[in-house]
Amino acid sequence: MRYILPFLLLATPALAGGDYIQPVTDPLTQAECSACHMAFPPRLLPSESWRKIVGNLSNHFGEDASLPAADAKAIADYLAGATKSAKTVKGMDPANPPMRITELRWFTHEHNGEVSAARKKKAGSMANCTACHRGADKGYFED
């Protein structure tokens, strides 16, 4: 976790006690996101990313994940409020925030060379955190 984003470090002093990242605590967000994938911890992306992602659920990484407008707004508000703005992260453009956790520099540093082809095939996708990090849905990302 040495290469983790600065905002993540600032946001999670508990990280010192292991690779813990506060999971989603909002029940609606938890239920809707985890229908298809683990509900990713809000702090893995800046507010602007969540607004953009949840604002375009009809084309959500190649699938329609539409929700009633009121639910989408509640989820966007929760996620954006539970993390930091891209403005606080060095080198990040708030107008063009990252759209994929897997493209963040700390993520590629942590995973490059770590995930064999067989392991990735078994996981199905890099979005499937719990395939390797068994406690990821509870916030624990140690190997």
């Binding site: 298809c36 994938h37 683990m38 009809s58 084309n59 190649g62 699938e63 329609d64 994940a65 539409s66 996981a123 199905g124 996708s125 979005a127 499937n128 395939a131």
Partner: protein, 129 residues
């Protein structure tokens, strides 16, 4: 009081706590279409490769596999419970869920909403397995 309600709910509906049944959903969509459901047509729609939708999901079977009595897998790697009510009694027992997922997945696979008749057909096939 809470306990009594739970007991009453369980007694009324031993397998699940939904608001509908597969038969009710077939009836609902058939009525809307003004035509009876046809399981064979439902199977054809479910199994076919389509071109109008999103490129990663050309068919229902992309995620649900060719055998709806078995589980499938989402593109995210997450397991999907079987679609056939015989293998998964919770299927088609929640109206809001039926509408939500037809709404999403018809658009992902076909690039449009499914017609009422298509929904009736698909549920009729899944319920026949």
């Amino acid at each position: 009081m809470k306990m009594l309600m739970i007991v009453a709910l369980l007694a009324a509906n031993p397998a699940f706590a939904g608001d509908t049944t597969p038969a009710d959903q077939i009836a609902r969509f058939s009525a809307e279409a003004g035509q009876p459901a046809d399981a064979a047509r439902g199977k054809a729609l479910f199994s076919a490769n389509h071109t109008g939708g999103k490129p990663d999901t050309p068919s229902c079977t992309t995620c649900h596999t060719n055998d709806p009595r078995k589980g499938g897998k989402a593109r995210t790697g997450k397991a999907i419970e079987p679609m056939a009510p015989s293998a998964n009694p919770a299927r088609f027992t929640d109206t809001a869920k039926v509408d939500k997922w037809f709404g999403r997945n018809c658009n992902s696979v076909l690039g449009r909403d499914c017609t009422a008749l298509e929904k009736a057909d698909v549920i009729a096939w899944l319920a026949s397995l």
